[in-house]
Each structure stands twice: as structure tokens, then as C-alpha cells.
Amino acid sequence: MSAGGITAEPPVAAAPPPSGEPGRLGRYLVGAFFLAPALFMLGVWMVYPAVYTIIRSFFGQTGFIGHWVGIDNYKTLFTTSALTTAIKNNAIWVAVVPAMVTAVGLVFAVLTERVRWAVAFKTAVFLPMAISAFATGVTWRIMYQQDPNLGAINALSKTVSGVFSPAGVLSSASPSIPALQSSGGALVLKTPTQPGGVALLGLTGIAPDQVPKSSVQAVVPAAKPGDIEGVVWRDFKPGGGKVGVVEKGELGLPGVTVELRNASGKTVQTTKSKPDGSFDFSKVSAGSYHTAIGAQTFAKPFGGFGWLGPNLIVPSLLIAYIWIWAGFAMVVIGAGLAAMPRDVLEAARTDGATEWQTFRRVTVPLLAPVLSVVFITMIINVLKVFDIVYALAPESEYAKANVIALAMYFTAFQGAGDFGVGSAIAVFLFLLVIPVLALNIRRFRREA
């Protein structure tokens, strides 16, 4: 702690003041008057606690006297699984977030540079910076809800996935007769059917609101020579009814994919059932066949990704965090762009460089100092991240979502209240940011 030198400044004996000019002592006094309040605050709230915490980290849970534990607290830090998870997660944060934020900020800054309504766009992207990370956590909890009917992100995912793998007509149904057997997601009628025969495919376990709207009274089609006919229907009516028989009041199931499989199990024809549930395979060559209801009929609707569940919680947090900080990067990089010498860019363009070449070879190298400032600032922010994890991760997922600052708070102030290990975590965090501290000081001394 270089700030330790503040209070240790020796009061040098004053030389006799030359007339008019305040002497050494006088200059000390004036300086002290202006500095004392701030230095008092820094001394009591930052320097003393920092020294205390470093010493405290070598003592046990309960106190100083007789509780010297050496580096045991630090060993705990690297062996307890909750804490190693926190360190690993923070490593993921450092690996992903600074790079992503800088990249997104650069893209936004470049895109908005020559757009008229850039101010509106920049304000929209910058807004999250003004909002507390805590409120952001609540906001994203609403966005991330798993039920696609509630969470906007899963609603969007559902719309997209609906295009590629639509939900089946019947997501829950079971055969009503034992001959209809499940095989690889499909239901296959084990009783073979020959051309000229009729296959009855009865299903039950379908809730009334699951029956397709176009459905009408089920009809058993008349047998046709050379064809295989059949019906898929809801083999159930209020009050019971006979299993395996199409009765009055039982509905056909339209839109169901029915497959005709030959003796070796290969699908030779596919058709869809009509509103009354009937279907027809025409011109079937002689032989023995099995009818089957295709697996896609029973495809479950998209249930939503568990964004707040154990597997996705870390990526979910990263996304929300990038959403917050992209605006910061955009504004800082945008200012760097605005301050860039125009003539260099013009010269590159005049020399026939394409926009991409100009960007890649001129803009980015010239922006390098600004980009590195954003990158380094983000590393520090990410190392200390706390609020968003506390607010966004459900308590049940804290173990998975853990980060160093969260682990420090919970170790020291919740549960067992271990000030020893808590101090060790704080010191560890401090050690991680020291290189940045050194960088800051060097930058200042170069400027001064």
C-alpha cells in the first residue's frame, strides 16, 4: 500500500519564511488543511481496513489471539469446492466478458459513427449503465423465465424452434389396444394388415383441449381391394365405451402421420389422416404390412431452455452483464473514433483501401489505446462482479453461479460467518487487481 506514506510524512522543521512567501511549514499547513479531511477518510476507511484484512487473513474464524492459522485460510480458498467454483467462474467471466464488451462496443461505435439518429441508438444502448445491476438482475429474471409463455427469450426460442421442429398434433397419447405398441417413438400395430384390409388405430389419454379442432365423428372406412384403409381415433367417450371399437361419440384424429411399413420394417408409404380419422394407402402390392403412427405425431412442444437452471446460469449472467456494459464500451470507443485524425483515414481511402481494410489496418490500430482501456476496465469490473449474480441467480443456483465477491460476502457475513477465510478471499481479490493498479500508477507517472 503506497498510501501508507500519507500519514508517515515527517513534519520537517520549518525554515525561516522569506518575506511574503509562505515557508515550508506554512505550505505544509495549507496543504494539510485542504487534504486532511480526504486523507482522514482514506486512512480510516481504506488503508487501515486493508492492512487489518491482510493480517486477519492469517487468523482463524473467531478472532486474533491464539488463533494464528498461517496460510490455512488460503488453502481453504483453493480446496473448498464452493470457492474453487467461484474462482473458475470468475476465470470464465474474465475470459469472455472484456473481449465481448470491447468487440460489441467497437462494432456499435463504428456502426453509429455516420448515422443521423446515432444519439437515440446510443442512449438506448447506454441506458442500462444508469440502472442498478440489481434492478437489471430482476429485469433479466423476467426475461429468462423458463415457460415460453412467460419468458420473452424462451418465447422467441419457441417461435424459432417451432419452424424447425414443430410440436406434434398429439403430444400426449397412449394406445388403447395392446396390439398397438410403442417402438422408437412411433406406435406400431403389431397385427399385420394385408391389401384390402382395415387397420384400427385407437388412442387414449388425450385431453379434450388437445383434440385437433377440425376433428369430427370417427368413421371406419370401407375396405377397398388393393388398398389398405384405416382410422386413427380417440378411443374414448364420456361414460366409457368399448375398447378397440369405433363408436358413436368418439372423434377421429385428423392430421396424424400414418406410415405403412413392409415386413422388413421399412416405411413404404406415408399419409395423413382426414378429419374423421380415416386414412388410405392406395395401390399396395401384395404382402403383409404393419401400420404405424409416426413419431413426429407425439413430439413434445418446446418447453423452454432452463436459462436460470444449473447448466445455463453462467452464460445467462454473462449475457445480462454484456447487455449492461456494451454502452460503456461504445461511448468510450466512440469518443476515441471521434478524436481520430480524419486525414489518415482519408489518405487510406484515397490510396484505394476498402472500408474493411481501412477499418482493419488503420482504425483498429489507431484505437488500440482506447480499446485496451476498455478491456482493462472491464477486467477489473468483472473480477469484482457481485450485484448481478446476487439478483439474477436464484438462490438454489448460487453454488453453480458463484463468483469471488459473492463467495466473500457469504463466507464472511452469512452462515458460519468466517472472517478468516472471508479476509483471505478479499486479499486474493486484491492480489488479482494489483497488476492493474501498477498499470494505473505507471500511466499517471508517464503523464506527470
Binding site: 503506497s2 510524512e9 520537517v12 482514506l42 444519439v119 444508469a130 456494451a326 478479499a426
Partner: protein, 294 residues
Amino acid sequence: MAAASAVEVPNPSDAVSAKILRAVARAPLNLALVVLGSLWLVPTIGLFITSILPASADASKGWWQIFTKPSVATWSNYDSLFHNSGLVQALKTTAYIAVGNTFLVVILGALAGYAFAWLDFPGRDWVFIGVIGLLVVPLQMALIPMFKLYDTFGLYDTWEGIALFHVAFGLPFAIFLLRNFFVGLPKDILESARIDGANEIVIFVRLILPLGLPAIASLAIFQFLWTWNDLLVALTFGQNTTPITVWIAGQLREFGTSIDIIAPASFISLVVPLCVFLAFQRYFVQGLLAGSVK
């Protein structure tokens, strides 16, 4: 932002046809920006709409149900929240902490910034480097000792204790920002004031504070937003004295599902910083740039 758009270079000699051609060529870019911009707004809009959905709204549908049935919207959630003494008290506490500590940081930071910029005393630069060094000290380093110290001196669970903690951790940045701004003030004005016999206090009050107003405004907005939005410090040093963030966190833990309290409370908590930010955006951005680019 004002800083960036002000530097746009006008292109005076464009023919009309070229302009139209350019507009067409830029359509994809504009479209992309519209999409991205809305992407950034949707979560906040979603929070707001959730906050005006009554508990009686269809719980099996998301907040966008409001677009098909706008009549469900209601202010009743807000109405009952403002009659909730817990929330009102939390808002007051937040305001005390944010305003009080911002005021102190500005005063102490300006005094020290002036000393580092314009007073000549031995060891000045070394002390300043020490302050710069404190810039990155994580506040986790102070939580445990100050928790004990506050307990001893009766500052635990008071808004003053929370505010003072913020003052200390805001000072390094405040001093850094103001010192750098004050150094750039015209030297001859200060010199002539000194020759006229003004003492340092008069110079500070009459010259430095008015001239340094832009930087002071940046700092004040920064500090205000930072402390209004704080969670960790208040969580550690408050138990019954809770600002809005901690109050909502408590609701979240106790009644995990009552979204008709949590959503409007969260929105209330972000309205104040949002207004401050929108009103003083320019200063906010200047502070940001001074802090990171300089």
C-alpha cells in the same frame, strides 16, 4: 452521445441523386441498428409492463399479453406500493445515502483535488500516487474491519455509516478526476488572484469551484448513480436501515413469487437514476471519459 456526434464532419457538396443512393445503401445499416436498439430496450420495457400488470392478469401469459389486451394495465401495483411503509422508508434511506455521500465526496474531493493541482508542498506527488493506487482497491478489503469498527462506534445499521463508506471509496476517483480538471485551469487567473492577496480558501471558493463546475457535475452524477444503485455495501452494513435495492432483495427472498411487488419496486428504483442520467447525460459521459481515457 453529444461528445461523439458533435464531431461529425459535414459533407457539403453532395448531389441529390448521390444522397438518395446513399440512403438506399444505408437501409440495411439503419435496419440493423433499429433491431439492435430495440433489443437493448426490450428488457426494461418488459420490466415496466410487468410492473403495470395486476395480480389478476393471466398468470399463464407473458407481459406481452398487454399488446392484445391493453385494458388489463393498471397503476394499482404502484398505488399499493406507495402505501407500503417499508418501501417508502427504503426510498428515503436511499435518498439520504445517495445525496449525503455525494455532497461529502464533492467537497472533500474538490479540496484535495485543488491541493494536488495547485498547492505546492513537499511530497505532494507521492501522496497523489498513493491516492491513485487506492483507485482499484476492492471494497471487499474493507468490509470485515469496518463491520467490526461500525459495531464498536454505533455506525452499524445507520444510513450515515453506509454513506461514509461510500464517501471513502468514492474519494480516490473524485480526487483523480478533479485534480486532473483543476490542473488544466488557466494558471494566470490563479496567479493574479494570489498576487492580489487572495488567500487559498478564497481562491478555492471564488475561482476553483465555479470554474470546476463541469467536472464537479460529472463527479456528482457519477457518485449519485453509483451509490443509489449500490447493493453490497448496504447489504453488509444495514439490517433494518435498508435502501431500495436491499429492500427488494429482501422481498425477493421472502416472497419469491410476488412479481406484482418486485417488478414495480424495481422500476421505481431505476426511475430516479434514469431521470438523472437522461437530464445530465453529457456530464455523465464526460466523467466516464475522464475516468477511463485520461
